[in-house]
Symmetry: C2
Subunit: 454 residues, 2 copies
């Protein structure tokens, strides 16, 4: 242990990053732990999955964010348990890390709500690696269909998105643009009009968090652009080759994208404290755990607010995490100064979503006079704010270049099918060695590596 | 079979791409087969492995190259065998593809020359996926050393490159720059001077293809920049935690990068024809196989030239593949016109390599008056020519932006550890479910997905 109190932060998402930054002048040692060495800008994962942006555009190495912060250290690792009494966190590699203060911001994971087959067959948009996997899968379906039309009836070109929240709506909008604008030139042998994007929603409206008019606008634009929007259509089973609706209807598909909702990281259960809806941790007004003032739960992990007991929890949005991270940091600083922590007040900025090219929705909160923007202006506002919040100058430039390119060319640059290494680079011994091979000069006498000249 | 003769091309490397492009006006149907849906610009793989460029910068989707070529089709697949008699190629998925003409350009793979342990423990720079894997491994070693200094003696910060051809030299130069300039700010807890880059070469000079003066220049610059260059140092064994030299010396390392030389794709053995040194296919003067005028072997796969029998083969360079691809296409066109094929003449343009920032070597051939450029001018020439040959406007812009950024900031943008999906997004059931969890409102009653607002 160092002389100064150590603040351990779990998770390099919006909450963890902002908590660490806010502690830059505090007399503490900050240790941020994440299983990735980069921050993932989750709101744009759907654009990686639809080939509009590359991983480098939306991921930013955590250490790069803190070059000038002396009291900051990073640890690559996965936290598997938390011991509030011993004040230690346990990592997957067996290491134990002691803390004086803990800020838990592990975020959320997708929730299958017990629907059978989802874990096995559905894709999700919660990590960079999974977004790349989904992109590769989507492009692979087009390659398969181009080579064998009969696969189209089996759903090779049917892409089903379950859950019409902002993630589902943005994914649906990006997919139809991909098929309508970017891919037809790639696949002259395919009639791209056969590609179907189905958006399934259990409720009777898209974009639950938004107002009625915005919901109707989004639904209208999605339909106009060719998305098959199905409201009041709950999914009862996901299969390898189809999705089953409560109505009994079976939609053949090779691609189920699950955006029906989230639950907290399983670290919530590890905290051994009261949990609310969606496994969210019930916290004190200052975001600390009941009976453990040195342990804070923020972001998607925590749930509270004035009406928490009535089930009204903070939304699981970046703003809640950002503000919560800053508040936890401030509370720790106040404690060190012997002052009491203050209650966290979530300042609602509003909701924002994009349906696609020139079509966005921004509903600002009362503090901004409840201004509502739709269409081109909403879309511009969305682009602007995403650029602001994207960490790192290099990423902003890169994303802006990509967006400008995509907008004016209708192209989608990153149409790469990238799979985990399959060991394809080493030659396999041929089944039978041809006689002529034995006449070869031994390969070992060959010179050193030579290489391309351009 | 279609009415027009079908030309099947194996491989979307420099040879295959240029063969397909050259056939755009020919009365044939072109089918290009590759196991990836993108062309990999191999000369820059080392920059992906050292975080200077992202995959999107050096990979270009094959279909995008041929948007305007009516007679072109692409097939994603891995060719595992060739039947010259039945005129079919066999794919890994079991499909058989018939051809009237075949242009085989499967390229080369690394050659371990029978050194034990290389297959199991060495990294190579022959595919995009492996370059990303190597980058992730290198960065992971730094994370491990930062967390546990004792790993440094075990070679966590010792990076051994075997083979000082252009690939090995460029990798060594890029690595020292990474450690000297880009990473120290990332790892304040690590003394980056402990990072060692060892370049092992069995011969007594680096850059075999180049002239003596260029070789000495490259060696001097590498040593000045901190590379531990070991000449006449053959490797006899690769281990998980060390590399063993013929001298008996054992160098502890967690990272062996094998660039000691290549051999042809194992399709060479499948062609059932005479093979030369390095398993290269002996071809007729027009690049067709002896006795099979409709089957062509080009690029790294083929070996010939006036002194082939004396063991003097064409170098395995991009230019040989590019020129060979064009020649095979022209020969097929001539055959269709009832004209005889012409002998292939390799026009040597010269050799080029980069040691690092402001330090390049360009040795032009006689046709360019044998001009030799070293240092800054050689480096500029290298950048310029790589930009020219990089396929796709978008990639050129993107690479240029990356290079300008890297040059002026000394930063390396893509410091991302990206692993294959490990299934980390779905919550694991907690070992013991806490009693309080049972009091939860059933998760299934939760609303639809909500998401970040920026």
């Amino acid at each position: 242990m160092s002389a100064r109190p150590r603040v351990v932060i779990i998770g390099a998402g919006f909450g963890g990053l902002n908590a660490a930054k806010s502690l830059r002048h505090a007399p503490v040692d900050v240790l941020l732990i994440d299983r990735n060495n980069y921050h993932t800008f989750q709101p744009l994962l759907y654009q990686v999955a639809t080939a509009g942006l590359t991983d480098g555009d939306i991921a930013y190495q955590v250490r790069g964010v803190f070059h000038r912060q002396r009291n900051f250290r990073f640890r690559l690792g996965t936290v598997v348990d938390i011991d509030k009494e011993a004040k230690e966190v346990l990592l997957a590699d067996g290491d134990r890390v002691a803390f004086d203060y803990l800020i838990a911001a592990p975020g959320a994971v997708y929730n299958d709500f017990g629907v059978p087959g989802v874990k096995e067959h559905a894709f999700v948009l919660k990590s960079l690696e999974r977004a790349i996997t989904l992109r590769s899968h989507i492009l692979r379906q087009l390659e398969r269909a181009a080579n064998d039309r009969s696969l189209i009836e089996k759903g090779a070109l049917t892409f089903v998105i379950v859950g019409a929240g902002p993630t589902g709506v943005e994914m649906a909008g990006a997919l139809v643009e991909l098929f309508e604008r970017a891919l037809p030139a790639d696949y002259p042998e395919l009639d791209m009009r056969l590609a179907r994007v189905v958006l399934l929603e259990a409720a009777d409206a898209v974009l639950a968090p938004f107002g009625k008019r915005s919901q109707r606008y989004a639904e209208r634009v999605l339909r106009q652009r060719g998305v098959d929007v199905r409201l009041a259509s709950a999914v009862t089973e996901a299969r390898a080759d189809a999705v089953v609706l409560r109505s009994g209807e079976v939609i053949p598909t090779q691609t189920i994208i699950w955006s029906a909702g989230v639950r907290t990281s399983t670290l919530a259960e590890r905290l051994d404290t009261e949990l609310l809806r969606g496994f969210r941790v019930k916290v004190e007004p200052d975001l600390s755990l009941p009976g453990h003032p040195d342990v804070f739960a923020i972001g998607d992990l925590s749930g509270a607010g004035p009406d928490a007991d009535a089930g009204k929890l903070w939304p699981q949005l970046a703003q809640v995490a950002i503000q919560g991270g800053k508040h936890a940091a401030e509370t720790i600083e106040r404690r060190l100064q012997g002052r009491p922590g203050r209650p966290f007040v979530y300042r609602d900025l509003g909701n924002m979503a994009i349906i696609g090219r020139n079509a966005g929705i921004a509903e600002l909160s009362e503090r901004f006079l409840g201004v509502k923007m739709r269409g081109f202006i909403g879309w511009l506002g969305w682009l602007f704010l995403h650029l602001i919040y994207l960490p790192g100058f290099r990423n902003r430039v890169s994303a802006l270049v990509s967006w400008a390119y995509n907008y004016f060319t209708y192209d989608r640059h990153a149409r790469l099918i990238i799979e985990p290494v399959k060991g394809i680079d080493w030659p396999e011994p041929p089944e039978e060695v041809r006689p002529l091979v034995s006449e070869l000069v031994p390969a070992a006498q060959q010179g050193t590596g030579r290489r391309h000249v351009e």
